[in-house]
C-alpha cells in the first residue's frame, strides 16, 4: 500500500511512519505548513519541519512540506475568530482535522496516487458488525484523541490509518528511543497551535476583532464585575471576571458580545436539563439511536448520559452547560457513534430569561434561528458542522 504519513515533527507521527515502513508499505512523509506566524506550542515551526525531515531521513523515506496556510486560514482560523465574535467557543483542532488533515490533505493524497493518509493520532478505526467504520478510542486513555476526530465518516475512515492508536504513549516513546529517532523525548504539543502562550487568546482575537468590553451581571441583573473582551469569555469560566471574593463560586452562564453582557450564576445555575445542539451527525449514515448514550463534551471530560431528541441533548440528570461551538461526542463503548455542536440558548442576553435546570422549556423557533446564525458564521463555506 502507498501511504502518505502526516509528520508533525512529534514522536507519535514519527513512530507512525516507522511502523508503516516496518510493515512494508511504500511510505512518504509530509509536514503541513499551516501557520506562518509565531507558535510556541509545538506546531508548524521550521524546527518541527526539520525534526520531521530528520526522522524521514532516518527511516529512509522521502519527505515533503506542503503549504496549507490558505486552507488553515479559511477552514480553521477564520471560523474560529468568527465564532468567538458571535460569543461561541469553537474547537479549532476538530476543524483542522475535518478541513485540513482529513479534508484537503486526504484529497491531495488521492490525486498524488496514495491509498491512505496516516497520522500519529491516538485513535482507532473500528469496523462494526454492520460493516460501518467508526472512530474508536486510542489504547492510551489519557492520550485518546477520538473526540477531536469525531465527524470522520465511513468513507474517509476507509482511507485513514492511525498506526499508534493501539499503543500507550509510553510504548510509543520507548519504540522511538529504540529506533534512535530524534523525536523520542520531544514534549507533547498542546493547546491551540496558532495561539502562543505568551500572547494568549484575548490578544490574538484583539488583532482580528474589535473586542467588546463587557459588564458582568448576576442573576438579578446587578453589575458585579467587568471583562475586557466578551468575545474571549467562555461559559463555565470562573476567573478573569473582576468579581470580588468571599462569595460562593460563580460561573459564567451566558455571554453575549451583542449586548456586551456576561451573566454569572451559581454552579446550580450552570446546570441545565438539556443542551441545544446543531450540526448533528451519525457515524452510520441515516441511523439514529433513540437511546441513552454516553457523551463527552471536551477532549478528556467526564462522560455524561443523555439522549438526542430533535436538536437537543436531554441529560439524564442536570449537567453543566456546554459553551456554544464546543463539540458533543457520543460513544457506545469505546466507539464514536454521533456528534453535534453545542448551540447557544435562545435567551443569552439577559438574566430575566436565564434558563436554569428548573426553568421552562426553550423557545424552539428562536433557538433555531440563533443556531443557524452561529452555524453560518462559523463555517462561511456553507459546510456547516462536522462532516
Amino acid at each position: 500500500m502507498r501511504v502518505l504519513v502526516a509528520m508533525s515533527g512529534g514522536v507519535d507521527s514519527s513512530v507512525a511512519a516507522a511502523r508503516l515502513v516496518e510493515a512494508g508499505h511504500e511510505v512518504v512523509g509530509a509536514t503541513l505548513k499551516l501557520w506562518g506566524g509565531a507558535s510556541d506550542t509545538g506546531c508548524c515551526s521550521v524546527a518541527d519541519v526539520d525534526d520531521a525531515r530528520r526522522v524521514a531521513d532516518h527511516l529512509g523515506i522521502d519527505h515533503h512540506t506542503f503549504a496549507y496556510a490558505d486552507e488553515f486560514e479559511t477552514g480553521v482560523v477564520g471560523p474560529y475568530v468568527a465564532a468567538h465574535a458571535a460569543g461561541a467557543t469553537p474547537n479549532p483542532c476538530m476543524a483542522c482535522n475535518r478541513e485540513v488533515k482529513f479534508g484537503a490533505l486526504l484529497g491531495r493524497a488521492e490525486r498524488l496516487g496514495f491509498d491512505a493518509v496516516a497520522t500519529g493520532h491516538h485513535a482507532r478505526v473500528v469496523t462494526g458488525a454492520d460493516g460501518v467504520r467508526r472512530v474508536g478510542r486510542g489504547a492510551d486513555g489519557a492520550k485518546d484523541q477520538s473526540y477531536v476526530l469525531a465527524g470522520l465518516d465511513h468513507d474517509r475512515l476507509g482511507r485513514v490509518r492511525f498506526p499508534v492508536g493501539s499503543s500507550t504513549k509510553a510504548a510509543v516513546r520507548a519504540e522511538a528511543a529504540a529506533l534512535g529517532l530524534g523525536t523520542a523525548a520531544k514534549p507533547d504539543s498542546q493547546d491551540v497551535c496558532f495561539i502562543t502562550r505568551t500572547d494568549g487568546r484575548t490578544r490574538f482575537l484583539g488583532r482580528r476583532l474589535a473586542l467588546t468590553p463587557g459588564v458582568v451581571v448576576d442573576a438579578s441583573g446587578a453589575a458585579v464585575g467587568s471583562v475586557p473582551a466578551v468575545e474571549a469569555v467562555t461559559i463555565g469560566q470562573r476567573r478573569g471576571l473582576g468579581l470580588p471574593g468571599g462569595t460562593e463560586p460563580r460561573y459564567v452562564v451566558a455571554a453575549d458580545p451583542g449586548t456586551a453582557t456576561v451573566v454569572v450564576g451559581t454552579e446550580a445555575d450552570l446546570r441545565t436539563a438539556g443542551q441545544p445542539v446543531t450540526a448533528v451527525g451519525w457515524a452510520a449514515a441515516g441511523s439514529t439511536l433513540d437511546a441513552d448514550l454516553v457523551w463527552q463534551v471536551s477532549a478528556h471530560g467526564t462522560p455524561r448520559v443523555g439522549r438526542l431528541i430533535g436538536d437537543e441533548v436531554r441529560w439524564a440528570s442536570p449537567e453543566r452547560r456546554v459553551a456554544p461551538g464546543q463539540a458533543l461526542v457520543a460513544y457506545e463503548g469505546d466507539v464514536v457513534v454521533a456528534w453535534a455542536t453545542a448551540a447557544p440558548w435562545p435567551n443569552r442576553s439577559g438574566p430575566d430569561d436565564l434558563v436554569t435546570s428548573s426553568a421552562a422549556p426553550h423557545h424552539p423557533d428562536l433557538r433555531r434561528s440563533v443556531g443557524r446564525r452561529i452555524a453560518s458564521e462559523s463555517t462561511p463555506d456553507g459546510s456547516a458542522g462536522p462532516v
Binding site: K33, V49, R53, H64, F66, A67, R108, R111, L112
Partner: protein
C-alpha cells in the same frame, strides 16, 4: 546522462546550476594542496593571493569594471545586504526598491524601514519594469534587479538612473550574469551583486562590484580584507572556481544564450500547445520573450496546486520549483506574481522551469512528455 543521478531531468538552474567541470578542477588544488592565507606575506600566502586576483580579473571582465572594484563575498545575499545597508548608512534620504526584488533586497529594505528609514517599494508593470513615476526624486539609494529570479524579466536600468542621477543605484545581477551582456546592461549601476553558483561556480561565494567613487559601509568588519570593504579570510578555492566560471560565462555567453533560448522556446511552445488554459507568465499570447532571460519559463497552471505538481514531477525525476521557497521547504505565496498583477488563484498553480548550460534536447523532450501528464493528474 544527468550530472546528478538523483535527478533525471534538472530544470531548476535558476536555483543553482551545476558547476562547470573546469571550475571544479581549478578549485580542488586550493582545497587539497594550497592552503595559504592570502593575507600573509610568505610564498604560500602569495600563491593564494595571486589566485584570488586572477579570479578578480575574470569577474571584472564579466561585469566590465576594474578589478579593484570587485569585492568578494559569501554569495549574492551578502552582496545585496552590503549594498543596501552599506549605501543607506552613508546617505540620508529615501531608499527605493522594485517590488519584485529578491528577498535579500526586499527584506533588507523592510528592515531599514523598521528602523525608521524612508523606504518606497516601486510598483512594476506586467513585464516587470518599475514605475518611474513612483521613484522619489530625492531617493538616496535605488535597487532594481537586472533580471528577476522567479519570472526572468530583464529590467532596463538607464531610465532608472536618468530619473534620479544623484542616487546610488544597486542592481542584483545574480540571475542575469550567466546570460546578459553586463558591461552594457549593468553599466548604469554603481553597485552590482553576483553569485558564483548561478553561473557554474560553487555555492558560498559571490561578489559585490563597488564602482570607484561610490562609498559603501562594510557589513563585516575585522581584518580589513578586500580593501576594508569585506573583512574575513577569503574563500580562496571558491573564488578560484568563481573566476573560472566567470571566464567561461564571458567566452560562451552568446552561443549559450542562443542555444538555450531555442530549447526554452521549444519547451514553452510545446507546453502551451499540450496544456489547456496554461498561462505563460509575463509573456503574451504572441510568445514574445525578448524581455525574458533565455533559461526562464514561468507558467501558471490554473486548477492546480504548485505543491502537487512539484510532488508528481519529483516522482518522475524532474526537478523544478514553484519559484519561491521558504526556509521550511513549503511553497509560499509569491510577492513577485502578486506585484505583476497575477491573481492569487492563478498563482497557486505556478511552475518555474529554468534551463542552463547543461540542459539538452533530451531534457526538453522528456519535459514535454511528462509535464502535461502530471498537470492532468494534478487537476483531476
Amino acid at each position: 546522462m544527468p550530472l546528478d543521478p538523483v535527478v533525471a531531468t534538472y530544470l531548476d538552474h535558476a536555483a543553482s546550476t551545476p558547476m562547470r567541470p573546469e571550475a571544479v578542477e581549478a578549485m580542488v588544488p586550493f582545497l587539497a594542496v594550497h592552503h595559504g592565507n592570502p593575507s600573509g606575506s610568505h610564498a604560500a600566502a602569495r600563491h593564494a593571493r595571486r589566485a584570488i586576483d586572477d579570479a578578480r580579473d575574470a569577474v571584472a571582465a564579466l561585469v566590465g569594471c576594474r578589478p579593484g572594484e570587485v569585492v568578494f563575498t559569501s554569495g549574492g545575499t551578502e552582496a545585496d545586504v552590503t549594498a543596501l545597508t552599506g549605501a543607506a548608512a552613508l546617505r540620508p534620504g529615501p531608499v527605493a526598491v522594485s517590488s519584485i526584488e529578491h528577498a535579500a533586497v526586499l527584506d533588507t529594505a523592510r528592515g531599514l524601514a523598521a528602523q525608521g528609514g524612508a523606504v518606497v517599494e516601486l510598483p512594476v508593470d506586467a513585464r516587470g519594469q518599475v514605475d518611474l513615476d513612483a521613484l522619489p526624486a530625492d531617493a538616496a539609494v535605488v535597487s532594481v534587479g537586472l533580471a528577476n529570479n522567479e519570472v526572468g524579466t530583464i529590467h532596463r536600468l538607464e531610465a532608472v538612473a536618468a530619473r534620479c542621477p544623484d542616487a546610488v543605484l544597486h542592481t542584483d545581477a545574480v540571475q542575469a550574469a550567466a546570460w546578459l551582456d553586463l558591461p552594457a546592461l549593468a553599466a548604469p549601476a554603481h553597485l552590482v551583486a553576483l553569485s558564483a553558483h548561478k553561473l557554474g561556480g560553487p555555492k558560498g561565494v559571490g561578489a559585490l562590484v563597488v564602482r570607484d567613487g561610490t562609498a559603501v559601509a562594510a557589513l563585516l568588519t575585522g581584518g580589513g580584507q578586500e580593501r576594508g570593504r569585506r573583512s574575513g579570510t577569503q574563500n580562496v578555492a571558491g573564488i578560484v572556481a568563481f573566476g573560472v566560471a566567470a571566464r567561461l560565462a564571458v567566452e560562451e555567453r552568446a552561443a549559450k544564450a542562443d542555444r538555450v533560448t531555442g530549447l526554452r522556446d521549444r519547451l514553452a511552445v510545446g507546453l502551451r500547445a499540450a496544456i489547456a488554459d496554461v498561462v505563460e507568465t509575463v509573456v503574451g499570447p504572441g510568445g514574445d520573450r525578448a524581455h525574458v532571460l533565455p533559461g526562464h519559463l514561468h507558467l501558471c497552471l490554473p486548477g492546480t496546486a504548485a505543491d502537487e505538481v512539484l510532488f508528481l514531477l519529483d516522482q518522475e525525476g524532474i526537478a523544478a520549483t514553484a519559484a519561491s521557497s521558504c526556509a521550511s521547504g513549503a511553497t509560499s505565496p509569491s510577492h513577485v506574481l502578486a506585484a505583476l498583477g497575477v491573481s492569487d488563484e492563478v498563482a497557486r498553480g505556478s511552475l518555474r522551469l529554468t534551463l542552463g548550460w547543461s540542459t539538452t534536447d533530451a531534457d526538453v523532450d522528456r519535459a514535454l512528455d511528462v509535464i502535461p501528464l502530471v498537470v492532468a493528474k494534478a487537476v483531476a
